[in-house]
Amino acid sequence: MKRRVLTNSLWLWSKMMLSVLAIAFAVFYLIRAVPGDITDLHAATGDLTTSDQARMREELGLNASVIEQFAGWLSQAVRGDLGVSLRFQTPVTTMLLGALPDTVMLASAALLVGLFVGGSIALLACAYPQGPFKRIVEALNIWSIAMPTFCIGIIGVLTFSIWLQWLPIRGQLLLPVLIIGLDVAGQVVKPLYEELMDVTRRGFVRTAQSKGLNGWQIAWRHLLPNSSAVVISLIGVIFGTLIGGALTMEVIFGLNGVGGLTFTAIQGRDYPLVQAGLIWMAAAVILVNALAKVLSVAIDPRLRSAE
């Protein structure tokens, strides 16, 4: 049994590493497939002569084959050196680490809002089947599926920053957190509600009732722990939403997170920064997905035999 767990996690680990490598190479390769590099950009503004341009290419190692460049980049990346930003002349690692707190703060606040709103509405819909909450479950769900977050972001800016003037246009976290949070809530609320409805029909709920526990005690002690597996199985999806949402929100609200940084880098063709940002975001999503898989197996023994 122990050995199978070990081989399983080894397999999962190697698969994850392969995925990250594959994504890293794909990004690395694709970025170099763009016609025109940073030296062309400098040459176009008239800062460089043709010989300067050739020398700059040589210095930046742009003449080597993609595989050689990738190998060189990788061997440095595992030592924490992601190269130097071409535009800002600062180490990319420093820039990413500087941008990370903003993104982490945005994402974790949105996650809390999403789980709280989604969880309470699912619970309320379960507790009061006659009430309006069942409709709210549906509405939240279709909202997160159908409404593009960047549209809501713009409507939010128009309403609260330009029309009502309650919030600054750029640099505030309240609207982005609420918007991504609602998106997360919409994705969690329906599966959670269905699971809760399923769990309430089980025997232990009746046992708890006959022990004399009240509704909230049952919900807190029995229903939520039993349905938390659903949330954990959704972690991958949620995290994808958080990263994608943060990217768009950071651009709209002018936040200096990883997404906003990467986006500016794309516009400036700052290769080292673009690839580090994109690879970081992709790797984070893959990592969290793998983690969620391990966690859900650890929590729910029923999944073990399925592996």
């Binding site: 279709i142 246009i169 651009v251």
Partner: protein, 278 residues
């Protein structure tokens, strides 16, 4: 009673009505029944709604209504093409992989897993960064982003249909597995695939709009809704109206299409369960 019938009919048909309006608006624009969406009028920049320009104008004094109607056609066209790419790539590769089976199938679906795990915007952004902005590349990028969604449906239906009586019978009659897959099983998957098209289309519209909004989508002079929004967002304070209208229209359209898609899926599911019961 009559009111009940009206409200029931309304809730049943409103998504289709909205969709028809959007399509007709696009058609009217392609046949030139609107003002010229590209004509600039520097005397009338960033105007609000008025008699000359019903929905106002943008920063170059171009008529917003005409641009939005032209945009309806372009946006739907780009997204529908992207969905077609996703369908062809996803279903095609999946069908081939399922038929071949074994390690090949596993590898293909590992790649699809990877693609699906990543947020659509991220995948689109990577591909667009590589291929450069342009209508064709947007179609390809969005198409590839959503290909996994068709691949999963295809493989699930494949596994179900493969053991169905008619497929076994066709094989026993001497059909090669490629023939059976193409001639007998594919037609039986159309229901599921059409539903998936309806689910993917609004998401394709969203992704295209975000990419265009971020400036890596279609060329700046092509007025898809995302581009119109991107242009208007630079003038949000001077002309909030010109920003709000396209945003609301875009959100309304994706909402409508999503409702259609999910209703189709519900009927499809009910049909499936009824089929298995009888």
């Amino acid at each position: 009673m009559a009111r009940q019938i009206v409200s029931k009919t309304m809730s049943k048909y409103w998504p289709w009505t909205v969709l028809t309006i959007v399509v007709v608006a696009g058609l009217l624009s392609t046949f030139g029944f609107t003002q010229d969406p590209y004509a600039q009028d520097f005397m009338a920049r960033n105007q609000g709604p008025g008699a000359d320009h019903w929905l106002g104008t943008d920063q170059f004094g171009r008529d917003l209504l005409a641009r939005l109607m032209a945009g309806a056609w372009l946006t739907l066209g780009v997204s529908a093409s992207a969905t077609a790419v996703a369908l062809a790539a996803g279903a095609g590769i999946a069908l081939f992989a399922c038929r071949t089976g074994g390690l090949f199938r596993q590898t293909v679906f590992t790649v699809f897993d990877l693609l699906r795990t990543l947020p659509a915007i991220l995948v689109g952004l990577v591909i667009m960064t590589a291929m450069g902005a342009g209508t064709l590349t947007v179609i390809l990028a969005v198409g590839l982003t959503f290909a996994p969604l068709f691949a999963y449906i295809t493989s699930a239906t494949y596994d179900r249909e493969r053991v169905a009586g008619y497929a076994v019978a066709a094989r026993l009659m001497g059909g090669t597995s490629t023939w059976v897959a193409w001639r007998h099983m594919l037609p039986n998957m159309t229901g599921a695939l059409i539903t998936q098209i309806a689910i993917v289309l609004p998401r394709a519209i969203t992704t295209e709009s975000v990419l265009s909004f971020l400036g890596v989508g279609v060329a700046p002079d092509i007025p898809t809704w995302g581009r119109i929004i991107a242009a208007a967002s630079d003038y949000a304070e001077q002309a909030p109206w010109s920003l709000a209208t396209p945003v609301l229209i875009l959100a309304g359209t994706t909402l409508t299409l999503s409702v259609i898609g999910h209703r189709l899926r519900d009927t499809q599911r009910n049909g499936d369960t009824q089929g298995s019961l009888t």
